[in-house]
C-alpha cells in the first residue's frame, strides 16, 4: 500500500488541531488519495458541492454530522441544485416530509458557509474557475465543463469528497490535476455537417460519451465555435453516456489549439469517424416516448441559461400552449432574475409555461409529475435519466419542436436539418 506524503498542515488537520469535522474530512480525502495512488494532496481554491440532492437518511446524517461537529468551508464553495423549490414546493404538491429532509440537507451545507446558488451550472455565475486552477467540482456536467471548456482542473469526484475538500482546502493530487493525464486518447473525426444546433450537440455528446469509456476524447472538425448553450448540452450528454471528465475540441477548447496539442504529442489509441448514420441512430435511440396525447414538456437540465430563456422567449412569442399540456422549466434564481429583467420570463409565462428555481429536472419523480403519461424534453440528459426517474418513456426533441408540440398537444418530431443531406 502506498503512503500519501503529508504536509505539516495535513498533519495538523489529522491531529484534530482544526476540529473534528476537518479531521474526519481529511481522513476521507486520504482514503481516496490511497485508492487513486496519489503521492500527496494539493491546495484547491474552489468547490462546487454536488451532494445537495436528498437521496436518503444516510447521506443526510453524514452532512448534518459534519455541520454539528463545527465544519466550516475554507474556500469559496457553491451548492448544486437541491431537491425542492424553496419558494414553490407547497404549491407544487411536494410531500412535506420529503421537503423537510431536502431543506435540512441544504441548511446543513449553508451552515458550513457554502453559497446557496442552487444550480447545476455553476460555470455561468461570476467568479467561474479559470485556466489551470485546481478545484473540486462535483456534478457531472459541471466537471466536464470546468475541465474542458474553462481549462480548470478537477477530477470526477463523488459527493462527500466535495464537502471534505471544502472543509480542508485539500484534495488528492491525482488524475486530471496532473498535466500528463489530460492528454487526448481517442480521436473523433467529424463529417461535414451544417446547420448544427444545440440539439445536435446533445446527440453528438451522447455518441462520443458512449464510445469513450474512461478515455479522453478529442473531437476534430467542429469548424464554428459552439455557443455556451451548445457546450452545456454537449458536456451534459457526454458525461451521461460515459464516465467522461474531460474532452478536447480542436480549435474550441483551451488545451486544443491544434490536434497535436490535444494529444500532447501522443498518437491516438483509436480513431473514430463520426457518421451521419450513427448520429441518426443515436438520435432515434435517445427518444423513448410513446403515445400521442402530450401531457408535459420539461426543459432545464442542466439549468436554463439566459441564452436558453432568450431563445425560448422568441419561439413562444404571440403563441399559447394547449391547456392540456403542462410546460415546466428549471433554472436558478440568478438567471431567473436576469431573464425577468430582460422580459423573457413574462413572454414565456404568457405562453403558459412555468418556471421552477433551486431544483432541477433530475428531481422529478412519479409523485411530482402525477398523471402525466406522455412527456417531452429538449434536454439530452433528461432524455437519458427521465425514463428511470419517472418510469415512462420521454420524447427527445429540439426546442422548436417542443414548443410546437405543446401548442398542438401531440408530439411533433421533425428530422433535424443537420441530418438532411
Amino acid at each position: 500500500m502506498n503512503a500519501v506524503e503529508l504536509s505539516n498542515y495535513d498533519r495538523d488537520v489529522l491531529s484534530g488541531k482544526y476540529g473534528e469535522a476537518a479531521r474526519i474530512a481529511i481522513q476521507v480525502i486520504l482514503e481516496i488519495a490511497r485508492i487513486q495512488r496519489a503521492q500527496k494532496l494539493i491546495d484547491i481554491s474552489k468547490v462546487h458541492i454536488g451532494g445537495s440532492i436528498y437521496t436518503g437518511q444516510g447521506s443526510l446524517k453524514v452532512i448534518e454530522s459534519l455541520a454539528d461537529l463545527g465544519g466550516k468551508v475554507r474556500v469559496p464553495t457553491t451548492i448544486n441544485s437541491i431537491s425542492i423549490d424553496r419558494q414553490r414546493w407547497r404549491e407544487q404538491g411536494i410531500d412535506e416530509e420529503f421537503a423537510g429532509f431536502s431543506e435540512r440537507l441544504a441548511k446543513a451545507f449553508e451552515s458550513m458557509g457554502a453559497i446557496p446558488i442552487f444550480s447545476c451550472t455553476p460555470y455561468v455565475f461570476p467568479d467561474a474557475p479559470v485556466y489551470g486552477q485546481d478545484i473540486v467540482w462535483a456534478e457531472s456536467n459541471a466537471i466536464v465543463f470546468a475541465n474542458s471548456v474553462l481549462g480548470a482542473r478537477t477530477n470526477r469526484h463523488g459527493d462527500f469528497l466535495d464537502i471534505c475538500a471544502a472543509i480542508t482546502g485539500r484534495a488528492p493530487y491525482s488524475g486530471l490535476h496532473l498535466e500528463i493525464n489530460r492528454r487526448g486518447e481517442i480521436l473523433f473525426e467529424m463529417p461535414d455537417i451544417s446547420d448544427k444546433d444545440t440539439y445536435f450537440f446533445s446527440i453528438l455528446g451522447y455518441l462520443i460519451g458512449k464510445h469513450s469509456g474512461s478515455a479522453i476524447p478529442v473531437i476534430d472538425g467542429i469548424t464554428e465555435i459552439p455557443s455556451l448553450e451548445q457546450l452545456k448540452a454537449f458536456c451534459s450528454t457526454i458525461s451521461t453516456a460515459g464516465p467522461v471528465g474531460l474532452f478536447h475540441m480542436v480549435g474550441v477548447t483551451p488545451e486544443a489549439a491544434s490536434c497535436e496539442q490535444a494529444f500532447g504529442g501522443n498518437l491516438p489509441v483509436r480513431c473514430i469517424q463520426v457518421t451521419r448514420e450513427e448520429l441518426e441512430n443515436v438520435w432515434l435511440q435517445m427518444s423513448t416516448g410513446r403515445g400521442s396525447d402530450l401531457d408535459l414538456v420539461v426543459m432545464g437540465s442542466p439549468h436554463f441559461t439566459l441564452g436558453d430563456c432568450e431563445e425560448l422567449a422568441s419561439l413562444v412569442a404571440n403563441r399559447r400552449k394547449n391547456e392540456k399540456v403542462d410546460f415546466l422549466i428549471t433554472t436558478n434564481r440568478f438567471i431567473y432574475e436576469q431573464a425577468k429583467d430582460r422580459g423573457f420570463i413574462r413572454e414565456i409565462e404568457k405562453f403558459g409555461a412555468r418556471f421552477s428555481t433551486d431544483t432541477c429536472l433530475c428531481m422529478l419523480n412519479e409523485r411530482i409529475i402525477g398523471n402525466a403519461k406522455v412527456v417531452m424534453t429538449n434536454s439530452g440528459k433528461f432524455a437519458h435519466y427521465g425514463p428511470g426517474l419517472i418510469n415512462r418513456g420521454v420524447y427527445f426533441a429540439n426546442t422548436a419542436d417542443c414548443v410546437n408540440s405543446a401548442v398542438e398537444a401531440y408530439p411533433v418530431l421533425e428530422k433535424p436539418k443537420w441530418l438532411l443531406v
Binding site: I35, Q57, R156, G158, A241, P387
Partner: protein, 164 residues
Amino acid sequence: MTDSEESLPHSEGAHCGTVLIDDVLVEGTCEGPISGTQSMLSFWGGYDPANGIVIDHHHPLCGETLRKRIFVLPKGKGSSTGSAVLLDALVSGNGPSGIILNEVDEIISLGVVIYQQFFGHSIPVVVVRDKALFSLLVTAKYAKIDTKTRLVFSLALRETGGLA
C-alpha cells in the same frame, strides 16, 4: 431469482476458479450470489436506494435487485451523486454485499469509505484488471471476496447453487 440460488451447496456442474485481486479499494470479506454486467451504471438515476433495484431503462440489469448481491460491473459512470445513492442503499440495508470492478472507480469507493467512516460498517470493493478474468466473474453465479488473501473465489453454476 429462486430461493435455491440464494442458498448454499449443490455444486454439480460447477466451474470454479480463484481470481487474484489487483487493487483493494475498500477492505472486507463477503460471499453471495453475483449480479454481473459488462455495462457501466450510474448509481444516481440508475439505482433506487430505497429498494436496491436497478432502474436505468437503458441498463441490461434493469429491474433486478442488487440487495445482498456481489455486484460485478466494469466501472460506474454518470452522476457524481452515485456515492450518496450507494451510501443510502447501504445504510437502509438495500445495498450490495460487495463490489467487483474492472477499473478503479472513485465515486463508488467513496460511498463505501463514507459508510466506513460514519457508520462503522463496510463492504469490500475490489478491482480485477484482467479483462478475461473479469468477464468470468461477470457470468459467475456465486463468489466469495476476501481482501486479506486478495482472492475472489467464484463459481459459475449452470442453474442454481452456491459454494460447496
